[in-house]
């Protein structure tokens, strides 16, 4: 699983496999140093089933982990390799419990 | 999977059991610039120098091949496997096809640095580079 930030949205009508009504979001994966998040340069497309918005910090699950977000992992009609699994509200930064709050800028 | 050119061979007699009859080839992966001179690739991609791949299709030096990694590489060495059967050859890269011909050309289209809501297009360049097998 990786931390990422939603930076865009992808519309694809002609597609194989059951995306269903779900949106495909463009996600830039993030690394963290101390209390700062910064982009790794990696940008992927992850299917979103939980309503992530532009600017949200999220967790991205890969491969069979991504398919597990939608249905039993060996479910063969969910044809994805990345999915948003959590919208992150805050990150505890250290043992003292300092927290990095993440406001979700709306789109 | 990606395109590369076979540039050499590695011989080995002492190797893991199950790899008999498998050849090892040195392959230099193509870069986008090799395929389409005027197209730049997004930042971040470094250049891989050369990779050794397993082969049972008999690719020769100088031939273009398609290389796959991981599970795809292992099943490439066991074409008779049935769905659900697990491959057993311990390799992580292999030739899955020997290229007859490829064609590639620059295309107008989406540019990564796009302002909200707008899709920029790049001028089309018609140069098409294609490689026939020698």
């Amino acid at each position: 699983m990786m931390l990422g930030r939603v930076i865009g949205e992808v519309w694809a009508t002609k597609r194989a496999g059951a995306f269903g009504h779900r949106k495909a979001m463009l996600v830039a994966t993030l690394a963290r140093e101390g209390d700062r998040l910064f982009p790794t340069g990696e940008v992927v497309v992850a299917l979103d089933d939980i309503g992530a918005q532009q600017g949200n910090v999220v967790t991205v699950s890969w491969g069979s982990g991504a398919r597990a977000v939608f249905a039993p992992p060996d479910n063969r009609h969910v044809l994805v390799d990345a999915a948003i699994s959590r919208i992150v509200d805050a990150i505890t930064l250290d043992e003292s419990g300092r927290v990095l709050n993440l406001q979700h800028e709306e789109g | 999977m990606f395109l590369g050119r076979v540039v050499g061979t590695v011989w080995s007699t002492v190797k893991w059991k199950g790899l008999e009859g498998v050849k090892f080839l040195v392959v230099r992966p193509y870069h986008l610039a090799d395929l389409i001179p005027e197209v730049s690739c997004p930042p971040g991609f470094s250049s891989e120098d050369g990779v050794v791949v397993a082969d049972i299709l008999g690719a020769g030096v100088g031939e273009d091949v398609i290389i796959a990694y991981g599970h795809s590489a292992r099943v490439a060495l066991e074409p008779h496997l049935k769905d659900g059967q697990l491959p057993s050859r311990p390799v992580d890269a292999a030739v899955v096809a020997i290229v007859d011909r490829y064609e590639a050309s620059a295309q107008p289209g989406f540019d990564a640095k796009v302002k909200p809501g707008e899709k920029k297009t790049r001028p089309a360049t018609s140069a098409t580079s294609s490689r026939k097998k020698k």
Binding site: - | V10, T13, V14, K15, R28, G50, V61, P90, D92
Partner: protein, 115 residues
């Protein structure tokens, strides 16, 4: 796979018991580079294990698990991944890179590889 030269064996008395009686090798990844032929003649063939020319690739040495009895100075092919490890040494070993072949010789076509 990665081609590398065995430059050392890594011994140790104290280790996790999942490493017992396993041999660890220090391997320097190399890039095949044919020596410049005086007359630029056709591709050269050389026995790489006789200290043939090879340019070290990158700085990081790898420590890999030997499965075939490779010795210092020999060249080996290293495969990566937990599935490869499971198929060779077995899942109980704490490594993801194993030797799958000891190299007898290697050949690279000078013209093809652009040096």
């Amino acid at each position: 796979m990665i081609l590398g030269k065995v430059v050392g064996a890594v011994w140790g008395g104290k280790e996790t018991n999942s490493l017992e009686n396993s041999k660890l090798l220090q391997v320097q990844p190399v890039r095949l580079k044919a020596p410049a032929a005086a007359d630029g003649s056709s591709p050269l063939e050389w026995t790489i294990s006789a200290n043939g020319p090879a340019v070290p690739l990158g700085s990081t040495m790898k420590v890999v698990m030997d499965t075939l009895g490779a010795g210092v100075g020999e060249y080996v092919l290293i495969a990566h991944g937990s599935r490869v490890r499971d198929l060779t040494v077995g899942p109980e070993y704490p490594t993801k890179e194993v030797v799958i072949a000891i190299v007898d010789s290697a050949w690279i076509d000078l013209g093809m590889d652009g040096g």
